[in-house]
């Protein structure tokens, strides 16, 4: 009836249930954690017993986190996820064997730790990637002298699944923006033989990151993905479809500037460049800072940061219906050229007509068809 047998197991061999109990976390607290987890993953409360059972008997998986051409915003976002002290539990739950910002080790010791974790858990570890991979010149971004490309390909070999976190890893992000000087590509463009979950956003919402991690760690399966590889549970709706300002869009009431009457009344931000209609993310429902608010609620148009190429969409303050290039210039130059061409062609036609008149040519129906 005692649990003394678990005392002798190493941390890696214990199940999550055993880990939590050994840390003095009661089962009641564990149930609270499972309930919060189910809510966070947008699952029905009927799933709570299933989650409890799955987590209870799950072993701590090894997680290797590779950071490539990134700004560390995604890691910052993740460490802001306060939900239910899920944070501390996730990090107790998973064995985060390698992470530049969060690990204590450095230099050779860190790289050796990574290689050891890969060997020990070959085929079973979870690979999390943030940042894009430069193909232009491997020297653009290296870790311990190893290029991002080499490190990714080598580490991906033994991964059970890959989670690409942030728009840089999922679609190339800001390094990929025109003219893409480093030749940045996404994880999905390089790896074709492993399941990849894309969690885009610049950064992604904290609970979305942890929700996806938790889903995989709890059930060992990939959540249902859309055509761009994003979990439908968080990216299935566009911001526009869930925006609380939608009634204003439908009625045609728009804010024209950031400080006019319409803006103060909370009218639609379409004219100020909102990309909500073409952006899929959970910002309008899950929101940021534990459900405090999101950009549109704060009065700023959506940037579309969870979509590919959002940096090249013509500018954040250019409305979706507007062209991205300078059309006025094109139109003026074209008009000038066309006037010249028109004059030339007109002169040619006139000469043809005059010579036809002089030669007393008959007008036929073919001439009229022109």
């Amino acid at each position: 009836m005692t649990n003394s047998s678990t005392k002798d197991k190493s941390l890696k061999e214990k199940t999550l249930g055993e880990v939590m109990r050994s840390q003095g976390v009661s089962r009641r607290s564990f149930l609270k954690f499972c309930a919060a987890t189910a809510s966070m993953m947008a699952m029905s409360p009927a799933m709570i017993p299933k989650i409890a059972h799955a987590l209870e008997s799950a072993r701590r998986p090894s997680v290797i986190w590779l950071s490539f051409q990134e700004c560390t915003g995604c890691t910052e976002s993740l460490t802001r996820a306060h939900t239910a002290t899920v944070e501390s539990l996730i990090f107790d739950y998973i064995s985060l064997d390698y992470h530049h910002t969060l690990q204590a080790a450095a230099g050779h010791a860190a790289e050796e730790a990574r290689e050891a974790a890969m060997k020990e858990n070959f085929g079973k570890y979870l690979l999390v990637v943030d940042g894009s991979i430069p193909l232009g010149n491997p020297g653009y971004s290296t870790i311990a002298g190893i290029s991002n490309y080499d490190m990714l390909m080598e580490t991906a070999k033994g991964a059970a699944a890959i989670i690409a976190v942030g728009t840089c890893a999922t679609y190339g992000g800001i390094p990929h923006a025109n003219p893409n000087p480093t030749g940045a590509v996404s994880v999905g463009e390089l790896i074709k033989d492993k399941p990849i979950i894309n969690v885009p956003g610049c950064p992604p919402i904290p609970v979305v990151i942890t929700g996806v991690l938790t889903h995989y760690l709890t059930f060992g399966t990939i959540p249902e993905l859309d055509h761009l590889g994003r979990p439908k549970v968080f990216y299935g709706q566009s911001i526009h479809d869930r925006c609380y300002r939608r009634p204003f869009y439908d009625k045609g009431l728009f804010a024209e500037t950031f400080d006019d009457e319409g803006a103060k009344k909370g009218w639609c931000l379409y004219k100020l460049g909102c990309k909500g209609p073409t952006t899929y993310n959970a910002c309008a429902t899950t929101k940021w800072n534990d459900g405090t608010s999101f950009p549109i609620e704060a009065g700023h148009p959506c940037l579309g940061c969870s979509e590919p190429d959002f940096w090249d969409g013509g500018g954040f303050y250019k409305a979706l219906s507007m062209p991205t290039e300078n059309i006025t210039q094109t139109a003026v130059y074209t008009a000038a050229g066309a006037v010249a061409a028109g004059l030339a062609l007109g002169a040619m036609n006139k000469r043809k007509k005059n010579s036809a008149v002089a030669a007393h040519n008959k007008t036929t129906t073919d001439d009229l068809e022109k």
Partner: protein, 219 residues
């Protein structure tokens, strides 16, 4: 190509190409028409050409009683879809933003539900016009491939625009990109078809009024 890349292309290079062909086409055709000139009329002028011509540009908008009685359907349906096109293109807020970007200024818009309703009415009118064309023996005989092509190019932006606004069918970026692409297709083919009447109607109506005015008769 991802759906966002597709959308960025139609909003970028696609728009440029369409603008160039559209503007060049219209100006060149206008230039050709104007430079062809008219044969000198050696008869004595009995009235003013210009005043009759200018007046006729406006008065031709009112259908005369005989034409109305003989082709009521064509006149009514025609008016409906022309007014509908004007409302949906020029009085819808997101479209006015496009003009603002290109020509530098905009104008007030109509409430969105009104434009939405007009779009539906216009689509119905255009469908009715096609059915009429295909069922009337004379019209069917006279119809060329160009007539059907032009009809398609005109209704496509309306249908794709409606679908994009109400998000029917597929993801939002794809719907919006298809709508913009349909407009670009219309612009590109425009100068080579009878759609030029959009601009040349001014010349034809002026000419009709002018020759009548020259002869001193009503136009």
């Amino acid at each position: 190509m991802s759906e966002i890349e597709f959308l960025n292309w139609v909003r970028g290079p696609g728009f440029q190409i369409a603008t160039i062909i559209f503007i060049a086409g219209i100006i060149i055709r206008f230039g050709e028409i104007l430079l062809l000139g008219r044969k000198e009329n050696l008869a004595e002028a009995k009235g003013s050409e210009m005043s009759s011509g200018l007046r006729t540009i406006v008065t031709r908008s009112i259908p005369d009683r005989e034409t109305f009685k003989r082709s009521t359907f064509t006149v009514v349906a025609g008016y409906i879809f022309h007014i509908g096109l004007f409302v949906t293109i020029f009085l819808f807020a997101p479209h006015i933003l496009v003009f603002k970007d290109v020509i530098g200024f905009g104008w007030p818009s109509l409430p969105t539900p009104v434009v939405d309703a007009m779009a539906v009415v216009t689509i119905i009118a255009l469908l009715a016009v096609l059915v009429h064309r295909m069922r009337n023996t004379v019209l069917k005989f006279l119809s060329t491939r160009e007539d059907y092509l032009v009809w398609f190019l005109t209704i496509a932006p309306l249908i794709t625009g409606y679908m994009a606004f109400h998000r029917i069918g597929t993801t939002a970026p794809t719907l919006l990109a298809i709508h913009i692409l349909s407009v670009e297709l219309l612009l590109v083919i425009f100068p080579f078809t009878k759609l030029m009447h959009t601009f040349t109607f001014v010349l034809s109506r002026w000419y009709g009024g002018a020759i009548s005015g020259y002869r001193g008769v009503e136009s």
